[in-house]
């Protein structure tokens, strides 16, 4: 409940403070000056509010004086209910309500949330820790400047109180002593409250009181209106100078002159309409879009990623909804209340126009498609928002201008907002219905996940069952592990060469797409399930996808091997894919019952593995606070035009000065930890009791994460190494990606040692494989060519293979491979001519000789392919490679659908 009111009333202000402060601090780089400027800005922005509050107070006093005699008379002459009822009538006849008496304490009341916002901001600002300014040693603690014997006395709070009292006395110059008494009490309360607070906060409040004093002195000389005008002008000039914006002053001067010449005409226009209903409807709709629709849209695309240790996706949604309710409705209504009638009319028109603008930005000039992390940073850190076609721009400008003309026409000509209200109401209902839909989608995913988790925990199962006496074939699938990293990693960690003894590394391996949905099927299905084959075939995409998952497990099963899939793609897709695929999508793919029907063992490792990690290693699980904060910014970003998005996005930092370096994050998400723990505890998940040949597929997504780990061991730690210099360039998320790749190989390396120790290494064939590479990886020579970066690395999955009894040194084979070779590698020398159980065709890798087709782009959601037989069209571009991929001449890139047809 407290959190709700905090989010509603204080949080919006706090975020505004933070935004202003971080911007000012970035420019000035001087903490005291920044506090000074922040205080000035806040004082000036609050000025109209305070002055209006003063005005209301005067009005209230006047009314009360006017009503007092009769009220007194009624109170004297009547008793009980009659007195109450007569007073009520008397107030009613004078258009007054006793609740309006609250206005008397309005200016004081207004200070409370503003104070709380400043208080909560400065007392939690990590930036201040150890930061000194002038005579103050540490801004994060009380100043303690005066030392008398053993007592340290804080000077700033006392100074602040003096200024506060001064300001109060100037203000209440002509007023009664009782009001002065209140002022003294309030000042003393602030003294007590702030005495032991961080000195930065006290300094902020000192400046605030100083401005308040100046304001009160000024008010003795000039009128309220002029004071507001002058101080806004100062603020405006300050802004223009700091932001080096010289166009704005010209615009303002232009408006000033226009007003001078045409002001009379403008004032004579009589536009009277029901602006109150328009405003209310407008802000409610704004709230539904910003507070409900956009956040739920973001979260519903991958609900489970938003399961934090401290909250569910709903915690995040409710926090965002409340913050926007506060910012838009609560403070919006205040603003409206304080505005004059003309301003109220302009505000309501403004809200309408903003609504159109926001919807157009949201739906027409959409944010380009890339992966978004739960911290709301895009995977490509330097995001390019300016991606739109001329058609979009034309549409955008025309919709906005037509709507504005329409709105103004309705208001000025008909002086009625009926039709506008109807439009807004329809948008309101639609967006609300959509939000409810999103919420229900999220709820179904989260609840089914929770029930699954619970069921899994109760199962307590040995997951990987290998045989000491028979043969084992083990496929370790690691999502987005990058082949090209291997030399770098093995160079940095020579011990791996020993651990991976017997393995063959295939550097020239390609995948068929840059994402899991089209990169995965060929791994277990072979060349019959490459994207082009799926496009060509007569079957529906989902049918083929479904088949591909079980081709290899079925072949082994049919030959009486014990066949097991761990973290299966069907049913619990998200654990493998990390691709924002929802439970609905999985159901649509039709995987339910897939493994049951074919009698293949399938287990999913429950999230409880993390608890071991938390206990054993003292790992801190990421909390949702950063996500909550950044989701608010991201929502705002979504309704802004592309050019403004850069500014808000701030390289994924969203003006968070406590988080200048996102790399400084030793706290991990649950989702990451689960994948890490699975590999770390592979030994604990394994038994050697099986008395049959075994075939096991183990799916894991650790390398898919971008995460800095503890150097040089690349394990989890609460500390970060400042002097870390990894062997990859700092482009996008490459360094973070490198970190998780190293961790993956090291953890698997430890598991290999464990297998050796238990004598199951030689009778086990192990294939470590990924589904695709990663874009924008800058590698050292000789792999640092632009061609390699753009065309090879994104499609360069890891492929490491160790055969039965192999004990040669770790070696490299430059043969041209694809991850569709896995079925042949897995079955080699075991089954003579393995046949696809679905098509009855003999499996082989002959087609590789004719070259392979790689799908470009990033259409990774199942919805693009579901229900289709031919899954591509002219929107898709392709690469074609024949023979050694190291030679750019063997590549034909950026081919369209018609051209690529020639190659298969």
């Amino acid at each position: 409940m407290i959190e709700f009111f905090f989010n509603l009333i204080v949080k919006p202000l706090q975020m505004l403070f933070e935004f202003l402060f971080s911007n000012v601090y970035n420019i000035t780089d001087n903490i005291i000056l920044s506090i000074f400027i922040l205080s000035f800005i806040v004082s000036v922005l609050c000025l109209p509010l305070y002055l209006k509050a003063d005005e209301l107070q005067e009005e209230e006093n006047k009314i009360q004086t006017k009503l007092a005699p009769r009220v007194k008379s009624i109170k004297e002459n009547f008793k009980g209910d009659e007195q109450q009822l007569l007073l009520q009538t008397y107030y009613k006849q004078n258009n007054y309500h006793p609740i309006m008496g609250l206005r008397l304490s309005l200016s004081l009341l207004l200070q409370v949330p503003i104070f709380m916002a400043a208080y909560s901001y400065f007392s939690s600002l990590g930036l201040l820790e150890g930061l000194s300014a002038g005579i103050v040693g540490n801004l994060a603690s009380p100043d303690g400047l005066l030392q008398i014997q053993n007592y340290k006395i804080n000077i700033f709070p006392i100074l602040m109180t003096i200024v506060n009292l001064l300001a109060g006395f100037v203000y209440s110059d002509s007023k009664s002593f009782s009001q002065n008494k209140v002022l003294v009490i309030v000042s003393l309360v602030f003294l007590v409250l702030l005495y032991n607070s961080p000195s930065a906060l006290v300094i902020y409040w000192l400046f605030n009181n100083l401005f308040s004093l100046i304001k009160n002195i000024c008010l003795l000389k000039i009128s309220r209106e002029n004071l507001i005008r002058y101080s806004l002008a100062v603020l405006f000039i300050l802004y223009c100078v700091i932001a080096e914006n010289y166009i704005l002053p010209i615009v303002v001067v232009g408006i000033y002159f226009a007003n001078l010449f045409f002001g009379k005409y403008f004032k004579s226009i009589d536009f009277d309409f029901d602006y109150k209903s328009l405003f209310l409807l407008g802000i409610t709709t704004c709230w539904v879009i910003l507070g409900l629709l956009i956040p739920s849209n973001v979260i519903s695309t991958s609900s489970l990623e938003f399961l934090f240790s401290d909250t569910t996706p709903f915690g995040i949604l409710s926090s965002t909804a409340t913050i926007f309710a506060g910012a838009i409705i609560f403070w919006g209504l205040w603003l409206f209340y304080f505005a004059s009638k003309l301003q109220q009319k302009l505000l309501s028109i403004g809200v309408c126009i903003f609504l159109v603008y926001a919807l157009c930005n949201l739906f027409i000039l959409k944010i380009p498609l890339t992966i978004l992390l739960t911290t709301m940073s895009f995977e490509t850190l330097s995001m390019d928002f300016n991606v739109y076609s001329i058609a979009q721009v034309i549409l955008y400008t025309s919709v906005i201008s037509i709507s504005i003309i329409f709105i103004l026409r309705e208001i000025f000509k008909k002086q009625s907002v009926c039709l506008i209200n109807k439009f807004i109401l329809i948008v309101l209902i639609s967006t609300f219905v959509l939000s409810v839909y999103n919420y229900s989608k999220i709820a179904s995913v989260v609840f089914s996940h929770k029930t699954n988790e619970k069921a899994l925990q109760e199962q307590n199962k040995n997951y990987i069952e290998l045989s000491k006496t028979h043969k084992n074939v083990l496929i370790l699938f690691v999502d987005r592990a990058i082949g090209a990293y291997i030399p770098l990693i093995f160079n940095e960690h020579p011990i791996l060469k020993d651990q991976y003894k017997g393995f063959t590394y295939y550097p020239n391996t390609l995948s068929f797409a840059g994402y899991t949905l089209l990169g995965y099927p060929a791994i277990l299905g072979g060349y019959e399930y490459t994207p082009m084959q799926m496009d060509k075939s007569d079957k529906l995409f989902e049918e083929e996808f479904r088949e591909s998952l079980t081709v290899l497990p079925l072949i082994f099963k049919q030959n009486q091997w014990e066949s097991t899939v761990i973290n299966p793609v069907g049913g619990e897709w998200e654990s493998v894919m990390n691709d924002g695929v929802t439970k609905d999508d999985i159901d649509n793919l039709g995987n339910v019952g897939l493994y049951e029907n074919s009698n293949i063992n399938h287990y999913r490792i429950p999230k409880s593995v993390i608890s071991h990690l938390v206990q054993d290693e003292g790992i801190e699980v990421e909390s949702s606070s950063l996500t909550k904060r950044n989701l608010v910014y991201f929502t705002i970003l979504s309704v802004l035009p592309p050019s403004a998005r850069y500014y808000v996005y701030d390289y994924g930092n969203y003006h968070n000065i406590d988080n200048i370096s996102t790399k400084n994050r030793p706290i991990y998400s649950e989702f990451f930890l689960k994948n890490y723990a699975e590999l770390l505890y592979l030994d604990k998940l394994t038994t050697f009791t099986e008395k049959k040949n075994t075939f096991t597929v183990f799916n894991n997504a650790l390398p898919h994460f971008h995460m800095f780990l503890r150097y040089p061991e690349y394990d989890l730690s609460s500390q970060n190494q400042e002097d870390y210099e990894p062997p990859v360039a700092d482009v996008g998320w490459t360094r973070e990606s490198y970190n998780t790749n190293v961790a993956t190989l090291k953890l698997i390396g430890q598991y290999l040692s464990f297998l050796k120790k238990n004598n199951v290494y030689d009778n086990t064939r192990i294939i470590i494989v990924a589904d695709h590479g990663f874009r924008s990886i800058e590698l050292p020579a000789p792999l640092n060519s632009k061609f390699q970066e753009e065309n090879v690395t994104p499609y360069n999955p890891l492929l490491l293979v160790k055969d039965f009894g192999a004990d040669k040194e770790f070696s490299q084979v430059d043969e041209f491979m694809t991850n569709a070779d896995v079925p042949m590698l897995a079955t080699a020398d075991i089954f003579e001519h393995p046949k696809n159980p679905y098509t009855n065709k003999e499996m082989n890798n002959n087609s590789k000789k004719d070259g392979v087709v790689i799908v470009q782009g990033n259409k990774w959601l199942p919805s693009f392919y579901l229900g289709k037989k031919q899954i591509f069209d002219n929107d898709t571009t392709f690469n074609y490679v024949k023979e050694d991929p190291r030679n750019p001449k063997n590549w034909k890139t950026n081919l369209n659908y018609d051209k690529i047809k020639k190659y298969y």
Binding site: S73, I74, E76, N77, F78, D81, E82, L85, L86, T89, Y90, Q93, L293, I294, N297, V298, I299, T301, S302, L362, F363, I364, K366, I367, P368, L369, T370, I371, L372, L395, V399, I402, S403, F406, R409, E410, L419, K422, F423, L425, I426, V427, I429, S430, T431, V433, L434, Y437, N438, D579, G580, T635, S638, N858, K859, W860, L861, S863, F864
Partner: protein, 427 residues
């Protein structure tokens, strides 16, 4: 038209916008958005027309039929019998159905034989107020002041509330906000109109409809004026109000002593009905004190007309009885001016200094100055008043000023109500 074209364009745009395909992308909802938008639009218009249909159906057939009353008259107590009786008779005469609600279980109207008057006892106090708050009627006539101020609230289903005076000489000496929320006031005479208007203006209230109709209860009394049925011995009627400042409480003993000891007149004391409820001891004490005096009688009868007819002079303290006495029987009265706290009354908002009623009383009657020995001189004063030759002229003048349309009140009232009912039912 322009709006509709724009709307269609808007929907088309949303329909044509491409589906998004990011891992997490706020735009993924856009396809869905357009679908929902379309359906909501359709639903909105469908619902709208449905609501209008339902509304017209409900109001045309059912809810209108539910309005049972054209006319409702509410009587707070049986003391208002004289006010309403002539009006009810008039309705009956004209064959117009009227509903009569009363809060007095022993209301004489309840036992009258009416064909067109539907009588009902609706309980008193809160029970009655509750019923009246949900009343459905075109026109409702009441004597109760402070409608919508105290517990008696206006019903939203009553189209017109009309107030009728229950005593002659009304001069805003009702408690605060008495008439403010009535739609119309039926006045006794012209002089009341400026007072009501002055209050309206000062309180920024909408102007009420003010109709001069006369006084139904005086008409009734006039018609039912009893003959004197007592000996011709000069008889003094003492009919005070009640409470701490009333004549009987303050000077009762003194006055009675003087009258019993210094005169040979017959004396009838008629305490206010409320006195018997709240100050019974006082009455009992007085009764016991003069138990031996045969000239002093106590009257507790329901109808005060007979006792008025049987007397020759009235001593009172501004209970409504004085002007009735003068106008009906053309006899003099003496009164004690108990100090009234005007702040409790609407009168305090008027510019006038003395209520009209007091002025009139002062013109016809004689004010007793208790503090200056008027009680001691009571016999002398009575003799003076008895000999006033201009008395009937003065009474005539006052009566013409405060009481219009003598004998026609019921007709005027029903005329007004019928006209009003027609007017509001047409709206």
């Amino acid at each position: 038209m322009f709006g509709h074209v724009l709307f269609i364009i808007f929907i088309l745009i949303l329909l044509t916008s491409q589906p998004a395909y990011a891992y997490i992308d706020p735009g993924t909802g856009s396809m869905l958005f357009s679908v929902v938008l379309c359906s909501v639009t359709t639903l909105y218009f469908l619902l709208n027309s449905l609501i209008i249909k339902i509304k017209t159906k409900l109001f045309s057939e059912k809810s209108l039929a539910k309005v049972k009353h054209k006319f409702v008259i509410y009587s707070e107590g049986k003391q208002y019998y004289t006010v309403f009786k002539p009006i009810l008779d008039e309705f009956e005469k004209r064959n117009i159905v009227v509903s009569y609600y009363t809060s007095a279980q022993d209301d004489p109207v309840l036992v009258e034989n009416y064909e067109y008057v539907q009588k009902e006892y609706i309980g008193s106090d809160n029970k009655a107020f509750f019923k009246l708050a949900f009343l459905k009627a075109d026109v409702c006539l009441m004597t109760t002041p402070q409608l919508d101020v105290l517990q008696l609230k206006r019903s939203k289903e009553v189209k017109h509330y009309s107030h009728i005076m229950h005593s002659i000489g009304f001069s805003m000496l009702y408690r605060l906000f008495s008439l403010d929320y009535y739609d119309s006031v039926l006045c006794d005479a012209e002089y009341q109109i400026p007072m009501i208007r002055e209050i309206e203006q000062k309180r920024n209230l909408p102007a009420k409809e003010l109709k001069i109709v006369g006084s139904s209860y005086l008409d009734y009394c006039m018609e039912n004026l009893p003959q004197r049925n007592s000996p011709d011995n000069f008889c003094i009627l003492i009919a005070p109000s009640w409470g701490a400042h009333s004549l009987l409480t303050k000077f009762g003993e003194k006055l009675l002593d003087e009258l019993v000891n210094s005169t040979s007149y017959d004396i009838v004391v008629r305490p206010h009905p409320q006195s018997m409820l709240v100050e019974k001891d006082l009455i009992e004490n007085l009764k016991n004190k003069y138990i031996d005096c045969t000239r002093l009688k106590w009257d507790f009868s329901a109808n005060n007309l007979q006792v008025m007819a049987n007397s020759d002079i009235l001593i009172s303290d501004f209970s409504g009885i004085m002007l009735d006495y003068a106008f009906l029987f053309k006899k003099p009265f003496l009164y004690v001016d108990t100090k009234i706290n005007y702040e409790m009354y609407d009168f305090c908002d008027l510019d006038e200094e003395i209520p009209c009623k007091h002025r009139i009383a002062n013109e016809i009657g004689k004010k007793l100055d208790i503090d200056n020995g008027d009680v001691e001189n009571i016999v002398e004063i009575i003799n003076q008043v008895k000999q006033d030759e201009n008395l009937s002229e003065k009474i005539e003048k006052a009566s013409d000023y405060t009481w219009f349309y003598k004998g026609d009140a019921a007709k005027n009232i029903v005329d007004f109500l019928v006209e009003k009912q027609l007017e509001v039912s047409e709206k």
